[in-house]
Amino acid sequence: MKKTRLTLILVSLCVLPLPLLGATANYAVGFYAGIMPSPGGDLNSYVQIAKYNSSNGIDGINKSLDGFSTSTINRPFGVTGGVEFKAIFFDYYFARVAGNYTRSVYGGKGKTVYDSDPGAPFVPELLTAKYAITAYDIPITVGLCIPFWKDVKISFSCGFAVAYGDYTNSFKSTSNTDKGSFSGWCYPLVLMLQGEYFLTETVSLSSSLSYYRGSTEILKDSKKSDTVDFAKIDFSGYRINFGMAYYFYSI
């Protein structure tokens, strides 16, 4: 009995939106650009733990000491952008596929100090550190879309992305030089909130907020001339984008 009631409720919930069957499907293409704070997360790697006194990557690498001219190494600030294809079915159901490019453009470099000879008495040395990350991803999400009259649509969707990343780091001091380069794939989880404001019946301005969660497995440094390094590429983080979309086809 309970099962029958539950089935009836679920079927009713699915059927509720059907009076709006008039617009069966709408398809749109769009482009957008925006920002991503902290692409790559803390950019931790084995060499930073073993040689440069940081157990949490770029966050812990910062040290300052009298007599050394250091500058804060901030997590990188990234820009992101891409193109999208989306479909809205029966006014309420939303599906989207896109292609994104993200890269760090600011931060991620500076000067710090480290103990160049951990076995001996304290031997601090100035260290120049640089971090950079580039990512490409194809997110595929499905979800719900709420239209507010003909002016505004707000949609929430979730899914996954096929993501490829390229992370490089370099550490240079008088007695040590290390460079790392890592490339890898993974499938991060994607959540997305998007708002659209229609300028005409077919053209909309959009803003979107997306959250990625996922990282590659541990990757081996492809530069073989120095200490072999190991790191993950972390795609986790928020991205906010602004763009335009054109609804080119309705059934």
Binding site: P37, G60, L65, T72, G195, I240
Partner: protein, 132 residues
């Protein structure tokens, strides 16, 4: 303001036992507003926030005052509901990613190593009065 006590330190060399940090943030965001007829609006934006932080760190019997600044990046997303023609009730989700540089020595090594992580989510509820 964040206040806490370290009960079990994972790093034996780290001697912090208690901390109390207060910060002021000045955010600047730009984005899009989505009006929903005469009910209110939904908005999203990205931007920067400048932080001034201060506080006290206790390491055993020793107490040290700290001060630091940081620039962070992030976004806001929120809704505003019209209450009267000039006042609106709003609820806003803000996320900012920001860390200070090294500001204090907490280990046996002679350098400053402690940084303050100001990264996090903030949920704000309030009233907005539109002067113009």
């Amino acid at each position: 303001m964040t206040d806490g006590r370290v009960l079990e330190n994972s790093d034996a060399a780290e001697t912090i036992t208690r901390y109390s940090i207060t910060y002021t943030g000045v955010p600047l965001f730009a984005g899009l507003n989505f009006p929903v007829q005469d009910i209110g609006e939904f908005y999203m934006g990205g931007g920067v926030e400048y932080f001034l932080a201060g506080g006290t760190i206790s390491m055993g019997a020793q107490q040290k005052d700290i001060s630091a600044m940081a620039l962070g990046y992030g976004f806001i997303a929120g809704v505003q509901l019209n209450v009267t023609s000039k006042t609106r009730l709003y609820m806003e989700w803000e996320y900012i990613d920001a860390r200070t540089g090294a500001i204090m020595q907490t280990t046996a090594a002679a350098w400053d190593n402690l940084y303050i992580d100001l990264t996090g989510h903030r949920i704000m509820v309030g009233f907005m009065y539109y002067v113009i």
